[in-house]
């Protein structure tokens, strides 16, 4: 997908089948799938369709009934599972943090198993805590139960990354987190991924999360079959069958908005602006000249305030969207501020232009053949959207 991504599969599943003892129907049925190196592949699908089973087959927490698992070209179907797992990060929804161990001890688990020396372990723990946004001095010696759910999940991710494994398995890691925190954690994982470029298998049953997180999405159906394995754009624009369209649901066109970064969108640059330093007569002249209801005051390029041209009242809240936000965020900002225009800024927060509701409507109805505005490749330019 991106120039930095090789297409060599880091994980290759070959005709993988799992039938649980005492069950007649297989939970995973002759599944073949390649996970390219450095990408996030999301397993998504309704409950009970074998996502967790497939993930646990990869690190052999569950042994396959038949089929093979290749990791970085090596057949690992029969290697020592404990050794295999030390090279695969594993994070789950319930976190599974050790309650009797401190945060630092939890994170140090695999490095210690691998025999790292103490200073190296301690440095690694601090670096990881820092990376997941927890101040080491403050959190290192706490126990898991002294942390919030979101913080526990951060520690879980840090623990999974501790020994720098090339592959990371995450089973609904943010499934039990409130929506706001979940969004923050998703953005942080994407930010971290841009630095560490792991091969990540991410399980969720939330299609929005799948679209947001995935470089590719595998849609699972009942009985452990993958009905479509594709990029988010193609899944949203060309669902393979009725099952996929049903699963995506009615919101597909709105969801597609979240695939376009504002940094890549064309913005209108004709909104009247005025330097904040302009005096009263200059302001009055500008108001008289313009045909817009509001003027935008810029202080050294940064949008600071609307100037009402008709005596105030009903001013839209100034909530600029930056290049890392998506068109979806822009629409959301408009709707929640009851405004039909948002101010767009660049990475430094400087005024770039405006986006209005009709433009977004046009984009929703863009004909697929004519091309949805190109989607940013996560691996190179995807950035966390700062909270507005």
């Amino acid at each position: 997908m991106s120039d930095q991504t090789t297409d060599r599969p880091m994980i290759r599943l070959v005709e993988l089948t799992k039938t649980y003892p005492g069950r007649t129907a297989p939970a995973v049925d002759a599944l073949s799938l390649d996970v390219p190196e450095g990408e996030i592949v999301v397993f998504v699908g309704p409950s009970g369709c074998g996502k967790t089973t497939t993930m646990k087959l990869i690190n052999r927490l569950i042994e396959p009934t038949s089929g093979r698992i290749l990791l970085d070209g090596e057949d690992v179907t029969h290697v020592d599972p404990d050794r295999l797992r030390r090279g695969i990060g594993y994070a789950i929804q319930q976190t599974g943090l050790f309650p009797h161990r401190t945060v630092a001890e939890n994170i140090a688990t695999v490095p210690k198993l691998l025999g790292w020396d103490r200073t190296r372990v301690a440095e690694r723990v601090d670096a990881l805590l820092h990376m997941v946004g927890l101040a080491p001095e403050e959190y290192r010696d706490l126990h898991p139960r002294q942390l919030s759910g979101g913080q526990q999940q951060r520690v879980g991710v840090a623990r999974a990354l501790a020994a720098d494994p090339p592959v990371l398995l995450m089973d609904e890691p943010f499934g039990a987190i409130d929506p706001l925190t979940r969004e923050t954690l998703q953005n942080e994982l994407l930010r971290i991924q841009r630095e560490i470029r792991k091969t990540i298998v991410f399980v969720t049953h939330d299609i929005d999360e799948a679209v947001k997180m995935g470089d590719r999405i595998a849609i699972f159906a009942e009985g452990g079959r993958v009905v479509q394995y594709d990029t988010p754009e193609r899944i949203l624009s060309e669902p393979a069958d009725d099952f996929v369209s049903d699963f995506i649901g009615a919101g597909a066109s709105v969801r597609r908005l979240s695939l376009t970064r504002i940094g890549d969108a064309t913005v209108a640059e004709d909104w009247p602006t005025l330097p904040f330093s302009a005096d009263a007569s200059e302001r009055a002249a500008a108001v008289a000249a313009g045909d817009h209801d509001f003027l935008l005051l810029l202080d050294d390029g940064l949008p600071v305030e609307w100037l009402p041209s008709s005596g105030g009242g009903g001013l839209p809240v100034l909530a600029p969207v930056g290049p890392d936000h998506t068109l979806y965020d822009a629409l959301d900002t408009m709707l929640s501020n009851n405004s039909d225009v948002v101010v767009v800024t660049d990475a430094q927060g400087r005024y770039r232009g405006t986006l209005d509701l009709p433009t977004i409507q046009d984009l929703i109805h863009v004909d697929d053949a004519a091309g949805v505005p190109t989607r940013v490749s996560r691996s190179t330019s995807r950035r966390s959207g700062e909270p507005r």
Binding site: D82, R86, R101
Partner: protein, 216 residues
């Protein structure tokens, strides 16, 4: 009262000796029960066979203590051996049951993530499961110890050691003033030991409960 104290000052050595023997006897029974019970719990706590194992352990408790000590004379002779074995059998259920309960109470996600990180089965048991189950296991030991302190008095009936001998002597000299003194010494010795054991286990519990596990 003064008679009791006078009498006791006369045989204090014998009393201390019997108390020491009693303590050792109980610790032996408890120790053996732990040595057999913990591994058995670790092997069976997830298996269906645990119900059978617990049922068997429960049967021992229903045998009247006199009868159990007596039955053991045939294979083991008289003295310490049948006494230790009998106590082991009585301690078995509380030790085993609490170990199984403690291990089963652990959040399966904790064990799964430990396995998922590459800890071996044994490493998971020693580093994760046993530490987490320890408070419950120690509670089992505490219950077992209190029970054994009383039952150990029966050991005297099979020529075993301990405070039971004072009680037995008291019974055999019924009618004399010493009879009551001896029995009283035996009983008080056991009560004092029970209090000391309880304090010990309370301290042990506090020591082994990690800060992360204290519920507030």
């Amino acid at each position: 009262m003064t008679g009791f104290l006078d009498y006791t000052s006369g045989n204090v050595d014998a009393l201390l000796q019997a108390t020491l023997e009693h303590t050792v006897l109980v610790l032996q029974g408890l120790g053996l029960a732990v040595l057999i019970g913990l591994p058995l719990a670790a092997l069976t706590y997830r298996a269906r066979s645990r119900t059978a194992v617990l049922a068997v352990a429960g049967v021992f408790l229903t045998i009247p203590s006199y009868a159990l000590f007596g039955l053991l004379i045939t294979p083991l002779g008289l003295g310490t051996a049948p006494s230790v074995v009998a106590l082991t059998l009585y301690a078995f259920l509380p030790v085993l049951r609490n170990a199984i309960v403690g291990l089963r109470e652990i959040d399966p996600a904790v064990v799964e993530s430990a396995r998922g990180m590459g800890l071996s089965r044994l490493q998971v048991l020693l580093r994760v499961e046993l530490p987490l189950a320890l408070p419950v296991i120690i509670t089992g030991l505490r219950v077992a110890a209190q029970m054994l302190l009383g039952i150990a008095a029966i050991a005297a009936a099979v020529n075993g050691p301990g405070l039971g001998n004072l009680i037995l002597q008291g019974l055999s000299s019924a009618g004399t003033p010493f009879a009551v003194y001896l029995t009283l010494q035996g009983v008080l010795g056991i009560i004092v030991l029970a209090i000391l054991f309880d304090l010990l286990f309370a301290a042990l519990n506090r020591l082994t409960t990690s800060r992360g596990m204290i519920h507030v």
